[in-house]
């Protein structure tokens, strides 16, 4: 087993912004003796511990589960959402990915649709609004149906589950040069459209969610594929083709 080393010195360039209205700026901190075995957030916890002891305001950042399933954490680290590693969230990022003496730049997600609330925390309610527009299956009252009553082909279930892995973290928007939310919307449209329960409302859903996405100021997709590359769940841009298809079919039917 590899043993952990100690990073004696790290330089952190962190975005600090007191409130949504504040202009914000980068503040540089140094931090000593960080174990490569610790997580990125443990390193930030150490920094905040330091700041609090000095009577300074700790750096605000989003986190919750700290195990890569809730989608709460964010951070644009050294030019990439969720940092240098692939297929992980920031809470799963370890300090072994960094070198002694390295300068680590930490920024919030940047998008017109995700305004900065404080320091590294952005407001991702825009995603919620898109879901509210149609990212659900309407269920009227009635008894609970038997789980196996509706036959579902195995590959459809698999593809649907692949899309359903989306945790709504917003890394796709953060990575995209156009700050487009297409991968998120595509994942949400796909995981429902692939299943019989979701199919009935597929056309209305695609139209409503795309309209909301456009309204909220996300950019237009240019198929660069950066979203898939940076998605912690590796959601495929093939879902975007499905969203385009669902949307166009719906619009041509009207």
């Amino acid at each position: 087993m590899a043993t952990d080393n100690i990073l004696k010195n790290l330089i952190l360039k962190v975005w600090r912004q007191a409130s949504p209205k504040d202009k914000g700026k980068f503040v540089t901190y140094t931090i000593q003796n960080v174990s490569t075995g610790s997580s990125f957030f443990e390193m930030l916890d150490l920094l905040n511990d330091d700041l609090i002891r000095k009577g300074d305001e700790p750096v605000a950042f989003d986190h919750d589960c700290r195990e890569g399933i809730c989608g709460t954490c964010s951070l644009f680290i050294n030019g990439k959402p969720h940092g240098p590693d692939n297929l992980i969230t920031t809470c799963q990022l370890h300090m072994r990915k960094f070198k002694e003496g390295e300068t680590i730049t930490i920024e919030p997600w940047r998008s017109a649709a995700f305004p900065v609330m404080k320091d590294l925390i952005v407001d991702r309610n825009a995603f919620e609004k898109i879901i509210q527009a149609g990212g659900f299956v309407s269920v009227n009252t009635g008894g609970i149906p038997d789980a196996n009553a509706i036959p579902i082909a195995h590959d459809a279930a698999e593809e649907s589950m692949d899309a359903a892995q989306c945790i709504g973290c917003g890394a796709c928007v953060a990575a995209c040069k156009n700050a487009s939310a297409m991968l998120f919307v595509a994942a949400k449209v796909s995981h429902l459209a692939l299943l019989p329960q979701g199919k009935t409302e597929a056309t209305r859903r695609a139209k409503a969610m795309v309209a909301k996405m456009d309204e909220l100021g996300f950019g237009n997709c240019t198929n660069t594929g950066a979203c898939e590359a940076e998605c912690p769940k590796g959601i495929s841009i093939a879902n975007i083709a499905r969203l385009n298809r669902e949307f166009l079919v719906a619009k041509f039917q009207d």
């Binding site: 030019g79 920024e107 940047r110 487009s180 996405m213 237009n220 594929g225 083709a241 385009n244």
Partner: protein, 229 residues
């Protein structure tokens, strides 16, 4: 059909994709005709093809549609690009997209602009002379089907033989076009929803082949005249 379609983000992309696909089909015809320049050194083949294109009524109808295709493609890519620039008002201090997306895909607007710059220049070199202003070289008329027609072959071949700089510009132009299409080709299918997990990699491979044929095909013409004449 819902008329709001073309004000939506996806609808605008469809316009870019359809106009782009139309322009690509034009490129195929254009390249096929141009390659007759290097197949037949007497110029007979190229002059016949050019004469056919200049006199065929269908081509007369297609010509303004082609111009419109360019206009629409450019207009909508400008609209999309301007919107995209507004979607991130505060830029990142440090952003690294090198491993996440291709260079061509990130620079479609610049590549398109370079193609447009080339295109305007290119129209002045041949199209405008053949159609409107004329040129002494064109007046060295040749006989095709018992008819005296303009010698386009002489105009084009002398151009590449006499101006090495322009030959190089044409090769560079072809490379820019190839880069635009290496992304544009498969991106058009994706925008139209004509793609899935299996076809994604297939279309990306075909895009490389198509872009290479276009870039090599168009640059081989000046190269041929530089080397053999």
């Amino acid at each position: 059909m819902d008329r709001n379609l073309f004000s939506s983000s996806i609808g605008k992309k469809v316009i870019v994709a359809v106009s782009g696909a139309f322009l690509m089909s034009f490129l195929i015809v254009h390249l096929a005709i141009n390659l007759t320049l290097i197949i037949d050194d007497t110029g007979l083949l190229f002059n016949s093809a050019a004469h056919f294109m200049a006199t065929n009524p269908i081509i007369k109808i297609v010509e303004p549609i082609l111009a419109l295709g360019f206009a629409i493609h450019i207009l909508y890519t400008i609209i999309l690009t301007l919107q995209n620039m507004r979607s991130r008002p505060v830029r990142y201090a440090r952003q690294d997209l090198s491993g996440a997306s291709s260079w061509a895909s990130r620079n479609m607007f610049i590549l398109g602009g370079l193609v447009l710059t080339f295109l305007v220049m290119h129209l002045f070199h041949f199209f405008i002379k053949m159609k409107y202003t004329g040129d002494p070289l064109l007046d060295v008329k040749v006989m095709i089907d018992g008819e005296l027609v303009k010698n386009g072959y002489l105009l084009v071949s002398s151009f590449f033989k006499d101006f090495l700089v322009y030959s190089i510009i044409y090769i560079v132009g072809a490379i820019f076009l190839g880069l635009h299409l290496v992304h544009g080709f498969w991106s058009a299918f994706q925008s139209l929803g004509l793609c899935n997990k299996i076809w994604l990699s297939r279309l990306q491979t075909v895009a490389v082949v198509f872009a290479a044929i276009m870039a090599l095909g168009f640059s081989i013409i000046p190269i041929y005249f530089i080397i053999f004449f």
